[in-house]
Symmetry: C2
Subunit: 466 residues, 2 copies
């Protein structure tokens, strides 16, 4: 037999006007306070940051049940929804029946009422979803992920699942995780004494992908506009608040877009993500603004409201050289910009988000379209306050000979990229694309300063728990 | 300077009524036919399965341009949109200007007008997006992926990115890909002579995940309703039309759902995916129905319209034993059902989609909630026509002692699962979830018989091209 009254989420009950009606709510106890006669339980079910206040006439319940209601325990409550006279909430539930689903021993449950450091909560990532902070962060992360899909779907882009296991190295960076099923101690060997990957699962050496871009380009040159949203990997031994070994990337690729169309899309896309999240996660963002970053909401509105500045790398170098500012790293035409330079341009010089184009070809990837000056390529980086680079993209080199020339020049093994070259041989077209590291963007929108706090179970050097 | 007229997609032009207006269209030539004086080009830009007919007054264009327009070449066309008098289309464009972006040498371009086998197209997966079949399949795949996100978002579920690299084995199946950065030829060794994974990137042995369920449960026991949609991996040496080494899974996990709520959700979810796709990809589905599977649309409507039958494993065994049907595999209480058994129940006996519950505990995973009979568990499998099992799920064991008992019984190494046990110790709650293999579902909705034809770049034994 099914239960008579359907459970209602706290999110829906808090805006309900069904005063006097019997309702059914379930969730986890955040706090219990009160006197001998009357108690107040703050119950949270994760649907929203706010708690539902449960008012309990202690004498009406058996002592054992009341005793089991402690911070962290899980309850099913039936009672009457009433207008609250207390501060801090509009509605509360006067409990008629309480069932304790699961207790949480106060002596061992790690999430007691007192505050915890983010470092400590990272150690108990299986429980940190139950805190205000991580409830807020992961609800915002959801809203942003949904905004990504909605944005591209509404524009007619097709979502593409590019491969995770791959034999090509899209960035030529080489910092990849190897994927294998060979015996780790005694792998089969070739006559030359190397590991014989011909005998491995895929019949060749394979790695975890660093980017879905190259494969996405193949689809764009047929379906016009596509995007990826999937995990990517870097075996980079960087223990910083900005690096993860496993992170999610969004990579749109569009046929018939030149660098200007690409900039239009990137600006419109970023503004949409931020404004959609401001609109759909207001309570969580207000909490994060209050607790972690007092300028968060202001910064988000700044990005949405101000038109991005568009200029080029060479101009940026001039500005930085003339700036009356002490930089840690030198500024020189030909070297890559550091976060301090990018932030100076955004936060102090332009006071706007900035898109820089036409970088020196030697500091960018082989697939970017070469300008006729022989020195620069049609790259574009979007720079944000606080973070620096948030998006990297370019018009892609669609000319077979120029692409092949650059590949040869850089001695990139062409064997694994025959298919990438071949779409330039058959019906090539001008096309562009960019990549957005999703966690960097979640950091920006939530104001969290460590990237490990915006992905449920972070993978970093010496850490793959859970 | 930006181009004057914005490119319009074929999809939008085909329903446009702006006759007489100048328009701008880009895409790839599917066919060119005509006489010396007038030509007809079928141009496709991937936005929709249909082509735009371009009418060309040959004498008005230079010979070189006309010669370069062959199947597979990429064009930018400006011309006047007019009502078509020809068969097969309502509008066409009378070309005023044509630019050839990329040629496609008829002697070497592999996608000539004639039909190609799916096997051949798999070898050129970088180009198969340009065929009607794969354009349709990957647009439908997009529509279905979007439907998944829309369904859960509208219901208040939160999208969760569970880890890809993991040190736990959710299924206890053991067929996993190892992830490592250690020297493949001379890895560091422990004093006992084993590979010393303490020296590896993560400080321990890691693999590619086989499921995000266990981690999703952690989030469900805080946020109430979550779902994953990410890649999962099996290093299973199965070269069949139903197996991939890398595939995408959708795994919702919900606190406060019992097995009945779980069945309600699974049925509603599957029906939504199918009906959303019928509504939003009608042209592609009609094409696939016509070319590959004449009963496709009928089968899809069957799933949407008919209520699923709900019964249990023991009842199903009785039906199968009494059936006047020759099965390849024997039917015996205690052994798992094969596709032939599942399809018999769905296609011949009930003539409905079926949900079977309460399987013998020994053929299912350790985390499923045990019934009080000591023999069965609260599993549920959803069985579909043509495919057999499409969804596997269960109410989860929320009782710490019973879960620990089962883990010990099966000798599952508990060291890597301390966090999974701990959420049963602190505020446990009844909860349920299920898993849907996305590619199986795309196979079902597109009617494609080989799973390698519904994922852009399939990974299978001895195959990781592109």
């Amino acid at each position: 037999m099914r239960k008579e009254i359907k459970r209602i989420k706290v999110k829906d009950l808090l805006v309900s006007k069904s005063f006097g009606k019997e309702v059914h709510v379930k969730g986890w106890v955040r706090t219990k306070r009160g006197s001998k006669k009357i108690g107040f339980i703050a119950l949270n079910d994760g649907s929203i940051i706010h708690n539902m206040q449960i008012v309990v006439d202690f004498p009406e319940f058996d002592e054992q049940t009341i005793k089991q209601i402690t911070t962290g325990s899980c309850l099913s409550v039936t009672g009457t929804l009433v207008e609250s006279k207390g501060k801090g909430q509009n509605v509360e539930i006067h409990a008629r029946h309480i069932e304790v689903y699961g207790t949480a021993d106060p002596d061992t449950y790690p999430l007691q009422k007192k505050g915890h450091t983010l470092e400590f909560l990272r150690e108990i990532a299986h429980l940190r979803f139950r805190t205000n902070t991580f409830g807020a962060v992961f609800r915002v992360r959801h809203t942003m992920a949904y905004a990504v899909h909605k944005y591209f779907n509404d524009k007619g882009f097709y979502y593409l699942h590019t491969p995770i296991i791959t034999s090509s190295d899209a960035e030529g960076a080489g910092e990849m995780f190897r994927v294998s099923v060979l015996d780790d101690l005694n792998p089969p060997k070739t006559p030359e004494g190397k590991v014989d990957y011909e005998k491995d699962f895929f019949g060749k050496e394979t790695n975890l992908t660093v980017s879905g871009q190259l494969e996405a380009e193949l689809a764009a040159l047929a379906l016009s506009e596509v995007y990826t949203f999937g995990p990517t990997f870097r075996a980079e031994n960087s223990n910083t608040p900005r690096h993860l070994a496993e992170f999610w990337m969004i990579e749109p690729e569009m046929a018939f877009y030149d660098i200007n169309d690409n900039m239009d899309l990137a600006e419109d896309f970023l503004k949409f993500i931020v404004s959609y999240t401001l609109e759909n996660s207001p309570d969580d963002l207000e909490f994060l603004n209050k607790m972690y970053d007092k300028e968060l909401l202001e910064r988000l509105r700044f990005v949405v409201e101000k038109e991005f500045i568009r200029t080029n790398y060479t101009e940026a170098i001039k500005i930085l050289k003339n700036a009356n500012e002490k930089f840690e790293f030198p500024v020189e035409w030909g070297s890559d910009l550091k976060a301090e330079h990018e932030r100076f341009l955004v936060e102090k010089y332009y006071k706007r988000s900035v898109i820089l184009t036409d970088y020196p070809k030697d500091i960018k990837a082989f697939y970017m379209k070469q300008n006729n000056d022989g020195k620069t390529i049609r790259a574009m980086d979007v720079l944000f306050p606080r973070l620096g680079e948030i998006i990297g993209g370019s018009q892609r080199e669609e000319d077979y000979d120029r692409l092949k020339g650059r590949i040869d020049e850089l001695k990139i093994p062409v064997k694994e990229l025959w298919w990438y070259l071949e779409v330039r041989k058959f019906g090539t077209a001008p096309h562009s694309g960019f990549g957005l590291g999703f966690e960097r963007m979640v950091q920006f929108v939530t104001g969290m300063s460590n990237i490990r706090d915006v992905i449920p179970f972070p993978r970093t050097p010496r850490s793959a728990e859970f």
